[in-house]
């Protein structure tokens, strides 16, 4: 039956592909899942880089590290008692620095580069620009892809309210940086160096006067300098963005969806799956984390129990009922999902303790792939 295992596409991706993108809404265990599958790939002999954009150090936490930096850091799997044939590196993305690097690469001249990097507006917003994190994550992905130290990059996407934002944010950023609009919008005023109301349409003039009135001229000046300085970069940016989309759609890439077994989360996973299919992105699996155990599964039936205090017996019955209610509701939701998508989700049961070290990650991986946990040579405290 090995052929029919639902984890097969994901396993195949981890063994052979070059890029794995892990997406999901916040709070579903996305980072843990990304780290667990990255670890599993290292066990299988790949040279893996796990990359996160998270400002809140989740990946570091789940790898049992206190810090992660922009520089890939190798995890000493052997020293921790794991037998891995491959390697695992982890890093976090510094959005601002990636942006700076991009500017440096595409700036048409030294002067233009200086103008952008020194622009007050750029300094303030390069990190806060809507979509920047997602765009930079993709940018970094391109760069890492060429890094010879790694043959698989596992990307933990930024936490978003909607899992889809990750794919759409770069589009939004690019449309904001779009030359046409901004030139139209700003250039007539500042290229001339003085304020003239020379603008193509009345609406444009009106929109501009609004921006002027409510954002203030000084701000507009900064903004226009920023975009004028950026002008030479648009082409490069766009080209990179196109390359990223090509990379993501490539059969050498894979998308993993992560959800929690709560009904709302499953509904969202279903929706996201549909969108991935629409966008022709190579989907390789849906991981559902922290499934509550059904206490009644595998119970021995019948017989007379030992004598118990009635109050104690009542508490036992109550705790059993509560857990079973929850577990069954989750299973109903999963069954529905399977019918709707025609795919079996990869289930990770709730583990005895919270996952925040390599041992826990190995357990998660074992649950996903239905394998025995990777052997530990000795106990890790």
């Amino acid at each position: 039956m090995a052929e029919r295992r639902p984890s097969r596409p994901l396993e195949e991706a981890l063994r052979q592909r070059r890029v794995l993108v892990v997406c999901g809404a916040g709070g579903v265990g996305k980072t843990t899942t990304a780290a667990a599958v990255a670890l599993q790939a290292a066990f299988w002999g790949r040279r893996v880089l796990a990359c996160t954009i998270d400002p809140s150090r989740r990946l570091a936490t789940s790898l049992g590290l206190t810090q992660l930096s922009e520089k890939p850091r190798r995890l000493a799997l052997e020293r921790l008692g794991f037998e891995a044939r491959g390697t695992l590196h982890a890093m976090t993305l510094d959005t601002k620095r990636t942006f700076d690097a991009l500017v440096e690469r595409f700036a048409p001249s030294e002067a233009a580069r200086g103008r952008i990097l020194d622009n007050r507006f750029y300094r303030q917003v390069s990190d806060a620009l809507a979509g920047t994190h997602e765009y930079m994550a993709m940018e970094k992905l391109l760069e890492l892809q060429d890094d010879e130290r790694f043959d698989l990059v596992v990307l933990d996407t930024p936490p978003t309210r909607h899992a889809l934002d990750f794919l759409e944010a770069p589009d939004r950023l690019l449309s904001f940086l779009d030359t046409g609009i901004l030139r139209f919008f700003l250039k007539p005023y500042f290229v001339a160096g003085r304020l003239t109301l020379r603008i193509a349409t009345r609406t444009g003039a009106l929109a501009f006067s609004m921006v002027d009135k409510y954002l203030g001229l000084r701000f507009l000046q900064d903004l226009s300098e920023f975009f004028l300085a950026f002008e030479g970069l648009y082409a490069g940016f766009k080209e990179r963005a196109a390359q990223v989309f090509e990379l993501l759609r490539d059969p050498g890439s894979g998308f993993v969806l992560v959800a929690s077994p709560a009904r709302l989360s499953l509904d969202e996973a279903l929706y996201f799956h549909r969108r991935l299919v629409e966008k022709k992105m190579p989907f390789v699996g849906l991981v559902v984390n922290r499934l509550h155990p059904d206490p009644a599964a595998g119970a021995r039936r019948g017989g007379t129990p030992p004598r118990l205090e009635p109050a104690f017996a009542e508490k036992l019955v109550a705790v059993h009922r509560d857990l079973r209610t929850l577990a069954r509701a989750e299973r109903r939701g999963l069954a529905r999902l399977e019918v709707d998508t025609g795919m079996a989700p990869l289930l990770v049961p709730e583990l005895e303790s919270d996952v925040h070290d390599l041992r826990g990650l190995a357990e998660v991986a074992a649950a996903i792939f239905g394998t025995a946990p990777v052997k530990l040579r000795r106990r890790v405290s």
């Binding site: 916040g26 709070g27 579903v28 980072t31 809140s56 150090r57 989740r58 936490t61 789940s62 303030q124 917003v125 806060a128 620009l129 809507a130 930024p158 936490p159 309210r161 939004r172 904001f176 609009i181 919008f185 609406t203 444009g204 929109a207 609004m210 409510y214 954002l215 203030g216 000084r218 701000f219 900064d222 929690s260 009904r263 709302l264 969202e268 155990p293 009644a296 119970a299 021995r300 039936r301 017989g303 007379t304 129990p305 030992p306 118990l308 104690f312 017996a313 508490k315 036992l316 019955v317 705790v319 059993h320 009922r321 509560d322 857990l323 079973r324 509701a329 303790s353 919270d354 996952v355």
Partner: protein
């Protein structure tokens, strides 16, 4: 005690990692306030599923709707807030419509950095300042803001600071400074951090606390540890659960309940209870803020009964 402190403010901002139950905590707090006779607005931002459903009311949309006596909910839509701003600024409906329909507006305003956040917080400020009646009494006694999850929540709250530095002059800069002033006024605004007993939620709460309090200057009024497992069994009973498990006890305990299944459920509960206590200690020591623990509720779906349970616990803390 925490609740008393919160009810003296005008604006309570809830923040925490995604999935920690900010909206249920927010609904519980709003319910307490409303039942004490305060006109309360439970405000969400672009929530895919609204908190109103916990109060067993239909989705309210961007306009405040009274879902229970004194309790209003609204789910702000960033685009709607921006359009409203344009209408307000332009005043002439025909011109406003031309702007709103223009592709330039559409693309510029939908992706301009931080503008969305600034507009939303501006709207919160306007709601806070709104007054009604002859006495010009504030329209809202309390606004409970369910902020976007911390991943985004921080950049959300950070925008006024960034904007007030980036835009020294003009109305937007002025507004950013006004918003910042409101957020930093401890008489008016309080931040409540929400976490659950899990490593990442706790780590993130601490991280967020440092940034919100030290960097942005918000006043943190307390921390809520949500979905904590509470003691159900006495020490002696817990020991008995383990003993019975070790002895491989079985038998039919009640209709549809086998003893070994019940022991499994009990052991899990005990384990989770211990973890909950561990993380409670971590939060208490790490944050040094007043802490309230709310119970994990075994409910398939949250409704008014569950929110009421949480509210009672919150009020008693």
């Amino acid at each position: 005690m925490i609740v008393e402190r919160l009810l003296q403010r005008r604006l309570v901002i809830l923040s925490g990692k995604g999935g920690v139950g900010k909206s249920t905590v927010g609904a519980a707090l709003a319910l307490i306030a409303a039942e004490q006779g305060r006109r309360t607005l439970l405000l969400e931002v672009d929530a895919p599923l609204e908190a109103a459903r916990y109060l067993e009311a239909p989705p309210s949309g961007p306009e405040p709707v009274e879902v229970r006596p004194n309790l209003f909910t609204a789910n702000l839509d960033p685009r709607g807030v921006m359009d409203e701003y344009v209408r307000h600024a332009v005043r002439i409906e025909l011109l406003a419509r031309r702007i709103l329909e223009s592709p330039i507006y559409d693309r510029f305003f939908s992706s301009a950095p931080g503008l969305k956040e600034l507009m939303l917080l501006g709207k919160v400020m306007i709601l806070e300042e709104e007054a009604s009646g002859f006495a010009r009494r504030p329209r809202w006694d309390l606004i409970v803001l369910d902020a976007p999850a911390t991943g985004h929540g921080l950049s959300f709250l950070r925008v006024p600071l960034v904007a007030s530095q980036a835009i020294p002059v003009g109305p937007v800069g002025t507004n950013a400074r006004r918003i910042l002033k409101l957020l930093r006024n401890p008489k008016k605004t309080a931040l409540v951090l929400v976490a659950i007993p899990e490593e990442m939620a706790v780590v993130e709460a601490r991280f967020f606390h440092t940034l919100a309090v030290d960097e942005l200057g918000l006043d943190c009024a307390g921390v809520v540890l949500n979905a904590a497992y509470e003691r159900r069994f006495s020490d002696a009973e817990e020991a008995q659960v383990l003993r019975l498990t070790r002895d491989g006890a079985s038998g039919r305990l009640a209709r549809d309940v086998e003893l070994d299944s019940a022991l499994l459920a009990a052991r899990r509960h005990i384990r989770r209870r211990k973890l909950s206590r561990f993380y409670e200690g971590r939060l208490r020591r790490g944050l040094k803020e007043p802490l309230v623990t709310l119970p994990f509720l075994y409910a398939e779906r949250f409704g008014l009964a569950e929110i009421r349970t949480l509210a009672e616990r919150l009020a008693a803390a």
